[in-house]
Subunit: 164 residues, 2 copies
Amino acid sequence: MPALITYRTPVQEDWVDYNGHLRDAFYLLIFSYATDALMERIGLDADSRGQSGHSLFTLEAHINYLHEVKLGTEVWVQTQIIGVDRKRLHVYHSLHRAGFDEVLAASEQMLLHVDLAGPKSAPFEARSMAAIQHLQTQQDDLSISNYVGATIRRLSQPADGSTC
Amino acid sequence: MPALITYRTPVQEDWVDYNGHLRDAFYLLIFSYATDALMERIGLDADSRGQSGHSLFTLEAHINYLHEVKLGTEVWVQTQIIGVDRKRLHVYHSLHRAGFDEVLAASEQMLLHVDLAGPKSAPFEARSMAAIQHLQTQQDDLSISNYVGATIRRLSQPADGSTC
């Protein structure tokens, strides 16, 4: 089964720099909207947030910028569930466009399930957990990207000539 | 010497969610503006970009969200040079507010020096490298945050009961 497509958008004028390229932070905004869409799929959409008072907060994100994206380009986000525990959801979002096989940007994120009344962390409700595990089962045959679990490596100093 | 303050801003209305809290992507936008300000300090500001045709692209970013930030809060970014080689600059941005000692968010980023004529990666010019190394010398006594070099860890599955 292919990865779940959670969000589609054209690249907006507000999101690009003076060269017409998507600014770094707005790649993350597109992934943020993809997380909102994922929330709807696991029973944490705006309506039920009103009722349940639960949401997902981002604890941590890692993003690799692989290709530039231009104003007006139609892009979409594919989302893979990497793991889940009682309160946390580990996801991998990748950004794509038509006619180009490579991933435009890759982002691994750790999300926390929160009771907005605190706000404080809270275990997923059973129906959310069931929805997450259903998605996970559907994605059983997807491999895990090398961009998951990555670390930014320290550079050698320029004086030693060992780097290019 | 304290860390360099690169950017200050109040949290804008466009940047908050329905609860009045800064949305994850807009923490990164604030750090993106801090990188722009850093570019000015190393001779890559808008004026000289026009002349030199050089800029910094973000290759990779890791961000830890540590505290919520509310609409209207005055925040600032402190920036530490972690490393540099011929074409790459490794920085650590942290977000702060008055009256609160803890870091609000921490972001490690790897930036690439680019010749916009390609665009293609290009070695830093001598005056940029000198400015970077001058900043680095000023920051010699700063320790490196634990958020530098961090990895998002995989979760245990909920069924095994080993996580909370």
